[in-house]
């Protein structure tokens, strides 16, 4: 081989090596494109991708506002998450706001309104595009609640450390004015950017036998309603047309249930008033169990279940926080049917459901859908959502509602709910003392009622679970004053 040809011959392998290099780089172009263009979305959705999480935190999360005061807000932080969530009122609003954690979920309004608070709701899409184009930092919307801060404070003060729950509604609009559940917790503990500490707090609260994380007003194990269920029973009786307030029932001191050895008594352990018979109205005012057991027997399971469904039993609600469905049992035998007549056996309710029932009665039989959100305000203070009051149904006629109200007002004036009286205010109410078990477990002490002053009205439901049963510790002593305090707070504000 001559020198020249040898030099020429080197060109071919070099060309091949050039091709090899080109192929290698095409491979790199391909693998980069796969990651950055083709798989980008699925990578973004991988729950191990902390960048996605950081992105959501890089947005200034909107505030949650009650009566013009921020009860949840984001302040600049000096770490990589840029914003620190704060709950200045601590435990007072914890069950309303819920909490927002770093990648470990969120609850309450923080959860239900997450898209609005982070500015990712569809209604905010155009605003976000504009903000991006004009170089503004992305920010979420603020959520203004319907909560009345004085009512909320009154509920928390009146309930104190005791286990229980308080709900107050505006009967005309369905606005939730107070929502307090005890025991409670400090949501600030969940806002820490130290995820291990948050997990510790969460596990600790989860293992607490008192379940402080349960919002007892709308979720959790629910309560046996006891005698507050008689509001629904009275409504069902009057609505059926078969009964009036003057309808008479046998009045024994005790009654053995059919096909059973079980004997029921009135709470007084005596007859319901002096007579051989007792009217439905008197039985309601004095909260006697035996006449209501007979009422349930005569109305039948279907009529009661129908009335319960009309009041919203069996239906979950998003207000926007999820309200669990209360339940009236099905397939009842006769003795159990009679027990449900005064709210025992397997009737289970949320305090929200009891307040909704009373509110419908107070609002002439029209039940408004409960709602916690007053307005949603964009960062530029544009109102982007302003929920209108929504009618959920008409469980009873206006006439029946008026008759039930009259009975409830008598109950406060001269019956078992006298501690709910407020000078100069029309107050109607019903107490309840629900047995929750065989072994002398504490009763659930109930009060539900409404107050009306001029144009303003409020409906409340209160339940207290005392540590142990104390003689004389009745619902009129324990629960009714809490209801009165909340009614007063709303009507004064």
């Amino acid at each position: 081989m001559s020198e020249v040809s040898k030099e020429q011959s080197m060109r071919r392998p070099i060309r091949r090596v050039s091709t090899l290099l080109l192929v290698m780089f095409i491979g790199l172009f391909g693998s980069s494109t796969m990651i950055q263009a083709v798989q980008a979305d699925s990578l973004h959705a991988d729950d191990r991708n902390t960048r996605t999480l950081y992105d959501s935190f890089a947005v200034e999360r909107g505030s949650i506002v009650v009566d013009g005061v921020q009860v949840a807000l984001s302040t600049p932080s000096n770490d990589e998450f840029e914003w620190q969530r704060e709950y200045p009122m601590g435990p007072l609003y914890s069950h309303i706001t819920g909490y927002n954690t770093l990648g470990q979920g969120n609850t309450g309004i923080e959860g239900a309104m997450n898209e609005e608070l982070t500015g990712t709701a569809n209604s905010q899409f155009l605003d976000q595009v504009l903000a991006t184009l004009t170089g503004q930092s992305p920010a979420g919307s603020s959520v203004e609640l319907t909560i009345d801060s004085q009512a909320q404070q009154a509920a928390a003060d009146a309930l104190g450390d005791r286990e229980g729950a308080v709900v107050a509604l505006d009967p005309d609009t369905g606005d939730v004015l107070a929502m307090h559940s005890s025991p409670t917790f400090d949501p600030n503990a969940f806002a820490s950017h130290n995820t291990a500490a948050v997990t510790d707090v969460y596990n600790q609260l989860l293992e607490d036998p008192e379940n402080p994380l349960h919002n007892r007003t709308i979720e959790g194990d629910q309560f046996t309603p006891g005698s507050v269920f008689k509001v629904l029973m009275l409504s069902a009786a009057l609505e059926s047309g078969q009964f009036t307030l003057e309808s008479e029932f046998d009045n024994p001191a005790e009654l053995q249930l059919p096909q059973s050895s079980h004997v029921i008594r009135n709470a007084s352990r005596e007859t319901c008033g002096p007579g051989e018979t007792v009217t439905l109205e008197t039985a309601f005012i004095l909260s006697c169990n035996i006449p209501f057991a007979q009422l349930a027997q005569q109305l039948g399971q279907d009529a009661i279940a129908q009335q319960a469904a009309a009041f919203g039993y069996g239906q979950t609600l998003d207000i926007p926080v999820r309200v669990q469905a209360s339940r009236y049992p099905s397939d009842l035998n006769e003795p159990n049917l009679m027990l449900t007549g005064f709210g025992q056996h397997d009737v289970r309710v949320t305090p929200m459901q009891i307040a909704m029932t009373t509110a419908a009665v107070a609002n002439d039989g029209t039940m408004m859908e409960p709602n916690m959100v007053d307005r949603v305000l964009a960062p530029n203070l544009d109102v982007i959502a302003n929920p209108e009051p929504t009618i959920l149904g008409n469980p009873v006629s206006a006439e029946v509602a008026a008759q039930v109200r009259a009975s409830m007002e008598l109950g406060v004036a001269e019956g078992l709910a006298t501690n709910a009286q407020i000078d100069g205010v029309t107050v109607g109410g019903k107490t309840g003392t629900a047995e929750t078990g065989e072994n002398n477990e504490p009763f659930n002490l109930w009060f539900t009622g409404y107050g009306e002053l001029d144009d303003q009205s409020v409906a409340v439901a209160v339940v207290v679970v005392p540590d142990e049963n104390i003689v004389g510790d009745t619902s009129n002593v324990v629960a009714a004053p809490i209801g009165r305090a909340v009614i007063e707070a709303v009507l004064n504000s």
Partner: protein
Amino acid sequence: MSDQTAPSPQAQNALQTGIVQLRDVTEAIRVRIRNPAKLRNLELFLLVIAWVLAGGAMVLVQLGALQRVDLFPLQLAAGLGVLTLALHIVLRIVAREADAIILPVATVLNGLGIAMIYRIDIADGLSGWDAASMRQIAWTGIALLVAIAAIVVVRNHRVLARYRYVAMAIAFILLLLPLMPGIGRTVNGATVWIGVGPLSFQPGELAKIALAIFFAGYLMTARDSLSVVGRKVLGVRFPRLRDLGPILVVWAMCMLVLVFQRDLGTSVLYFGLFLVMIYIATGRRSWMVIGVGLVAVGGVAAYFSLGYVQRRVHAWIHAFDPAVYEAQGGSFQIVQGVFGMGHGGLLGTGLGLGRPDITPYANSDYIIPSLGEELGLTGIVAILGLYLILVSRGVRIGFQGPDDFTKLLGVGLAFVIGLQVFIVVGGVTRLIPLTGLTTPFLAAGGSSLLANWLIVALLLRLSDSVRGRGIV
């Protein structure tokens, strides 16, 4: 009188020589005036663009991450500008015909690297000499001074062919240094560092240049005998058995690196370099077949006997498997890098606005995902394009070089950059298993910068010998 009229032959010769010399000088001046260093002017023009790109990136990093601008990024940019301008001026004097594109491309890459290293410094809250960006600009200075020295000292690169066995010895010493007790250091399992006091260095980076010089020098002389064919097996003509010695020695060397230094990437890099250079020298595909066979044997043996090789392969194939992801030495880093690149998408988050610091080693081994996150696929394609241009300038020397040594060395050095980019970028983008190699010019680290600027110096010197063939 005759003395006056007839000058002595000696004087006449001297006069003629003087005239000839004068003519040479004036000719040279005339050439310079008529042909005013077109390549260097082009280089200066491209350099200005490179400075603007690099300086802009550094300022944008600070603006994006800190929402303010101070003098520091401008100082970094000015440092890079002064240093590369110095090399440019040196080229105007001692290598006027050198390639005009290599220096600007290397400058952009070096500058983008400093910008991203500075960006990670901001995320980590480092400043002063703790900041990797400060050390990087200092190393850039050292690297460019060494590169300038190399270009000035080595006026004729063909001299290097004479020192091929010296180069080989240097390469071996450099490779063995990290294994020496006292100065060797093991970082992340790989024993490829030496350290004296606070300074540490990866001698393997320099060894690849010494090896390229040795291979080019050796193959230049041995190509004839290596080209002689022996038996024909399965349609491929194989070399004679006695010529197999060198390739077996190199293979053994790479296997030693693999076993004792636990450095898969370097091992593959050296062997790939040798294979390509022997193929170019001989034009015999059989060498490639033998080489790939040896790689296969070594690879399979390493996979079954070396735990870290096995883990690397698993972390590559099953990267998103939760068990592999969470395992010690598993795929956490790979997956985080991929998340980062995905986060950048097509256009990137913008410099200073992403979160590249989540990925471990975001400013060295993982600087490509960091750049991918903040500059997007667009930026990655541009960076890979710059590498491709750099590599193609080296390959061009292979086509147009005046002699075998120049051709072999040019293509060899170009290929070593291309292969290194392929191994690193392919590793972080999951095209191939991840191995620890630095990204040329971009990654934080002095040894890598020094080695790659030396390669640039050599390529510039080689290209200067490709005279009169125009700009492209």
